[in-house]
Symmetry: C2
Subunit: 329 residues, 2 copies
């Protein structure tokens, strides 16, 4: 018995940042049973990342924009309705690119089983790539330990929030840097940071602690220039992102003299290198998530009909924390 | 029975780089026996470092210039003639600051015993601070191993020469960077580097290998800019010195984007942090020195009367390898 499902597609090709009006909902008929090697899934949650906006306007290396009417790119959490692949069975929870849709038939190779007893939507955030990024930087590169004084910017985001919570779990003092009182409130209120410095206030640099032993950089020159003079001898810096520079093409630079003088250690981080170790991260995180020591801040739009508006907010940078669309369940 | 000894002192205070004519030899009478807690030593070798020139002209932080006629600063290798301290006995070989002199009576706390069966003058170079610097960078920070492709600049110097020889011992390929054919010949001929690139030739950057896995920086921006595009994914950079910048006060900077893209690891190195581990380095080095796999290039002036001319050459940067004065023996 085939089914009719709803799916979000582009109404027309776009070249600017995506807006709600660029999308429309269409109906699609799915085959009665999935072909061999594929799985039929029902979407629970859709995650929306800034890079998806770049793909939609054909500005992302390696992924070309879908044509109007074609399935859109998006990592989701889904439940398996029917499987024609030995790797999955009906009832499994999976994560993978299933599109912006109620249901989909997708190749089994595109999916990975997740443990729904830990959490559901969090497999797109704190248990997914953003959390893996934080874990890699904190435990594999900077090797956080009790007594560290840890700073991280873009502090309301899931990467920074998870990095800071890992640091707290390991016994460090955690100071966030974020733009505005709302974002700082997420860092201290939701993530439990010891403090958060609002870089939109004059003299914010003076509120950073002296003797920073680990810094995790997501922004760029502005924060690096403030942190470096306050870095402790033998301090470690994880370089993860340069959000300040993506828009204007400017270049962040680190002065070599202070790196030598402080015997600093600096680590470039690309999360792809740690994909094979996702299970280690999930094993580390699971008890902390179950016991409430590790959380994410979610920015949820309800229903596929609001996915377009949500990606518009993601592209504008006005979402806070993990941007999600609740599709069902 | 007291003795009359010869010693080099400043003839007058200096503010410019030291020149041979700024020094004179004076005679000095030493007490018949060293007072309690001191040791009488006869100098074998005097080592001359660029920072001594800075001290003499009162340009070094933490050390003020000696007045004309006062003992000069200089680390030497000496043999103990008489000891009034339980830590040393006549016949011991020691290293420490004894001045520019034939003999001296110095506090025992200023001396450290060295093993003359490994080498003598080399305790000022490859077995001393320059070698310790190289060992710390190569084995403790960059953790060199077989298959590494290693580059190092100021390649004729003892720090770079030792770093490259450690890399060879551990199974790496070693490419030096130096200014001029003579210095490159020291790197390949004396130190056994696989190749050395002369940065005074046009297009020298193109002769650097691609896929550099470890780089050891002693110079600054010029070499960093050439190395960074050729650094392998997961490449490591040890930042040790900035000779290019000391004169003009300019600042070397590293761009952050490529550090992330290459997942580079960067280590600031200050040798003081490793003083407590000198014995580990000597234990590592001793068999390689005895069997000729680890050597230094020495630039020797014979006799105390040539010490002034030698520090002039050190200050001008025209010495190559370890600058020494043979005092006796």
């Amino acid at each position: 018995m085939s089914s009719i499902i709803r799916e979000v597609v582009l109404r027309h090709a776009i070249t600017d940042a995506p807006k709600a009006g660029d999308f429309e909902i269409v109906e699609r008929r799915l085959p009665a049973t999935p072909p061999a090697g594929t799985v039929q899934v029902r979407l629970l949650w859709l995650g929306l990342d800034p890079y998806v906006g770049q793909v939609l306007r054909n500005r992302h290396m390696g992924e070309s924009a879908p044509a109007p009417g074609e399935p859109l790119l998006g990592e989701g959490i889904a439940i398996v309705l029917a499987s024609n692949d030995p790797a999955f069975a009906a009832g499994d929870h999976v994560v993978g690119n299933c599109g912006w849709t109620e249901e989909a038939i997708v190749p089994a190779t595109r999916l990975r089983r997740v443990d729904p007893t830990i959490a559901i939507a969090e497999h797109l955030g704190v248990l997914g790539m953003p959390g893996l990024t934080a874990w890699a930087g904190m435990t594999q590169l900077a090797k956080v330990r009790a007594g560290d004084i840890f700073t991280v910017d873009a502090a309301a985001g899931v990467v920074a929030g998870t990095a800071g919570q890992i640091a707290k779990i390991e016994g460090a003092t955690v100071i966030g840097v974020a733009g505005g009182v709302d974002k700082c409130a997420i860092a201290t209120g939701r993530y439990g940071f010891d403090d958060c410095v609002d870089y939109k206030l004059d003299g914010w640099e003076e509120k950073l602690p002296n003797g920073i032993t680990i810094h995790f950089e997501n922004v760029g020159q502005r924060v690096l220039d403030a942190v470096l003079p306050r870095l402790a001898t033998n301090g470690r810096i994880v370089l993860c992102g340069l959000a300040q520079h993506y828009g204007d093409g400017s270049v962040a630079r680190l002065p070599v003299g202070p790196i030598i003088g402080k015997r600093a250690q600096i680590f470039g981080l690309v999360v792809y290198d740690f994909f094979a170790r996702r299970d280690e991260w999930v094993a580390y995180a699971a008890p902390h998530i179950r016991e409430g020591r590790l959380v994410e801040f979610q920015d949820v739009a309800d229903g596929l009909e609001n996915a377009g508006a949500q990606i518009e907010r993601v592209a504008l940078g006005t979402t806070q924390g993990r941007a999600l669309v609740r599709v069902s369940g």
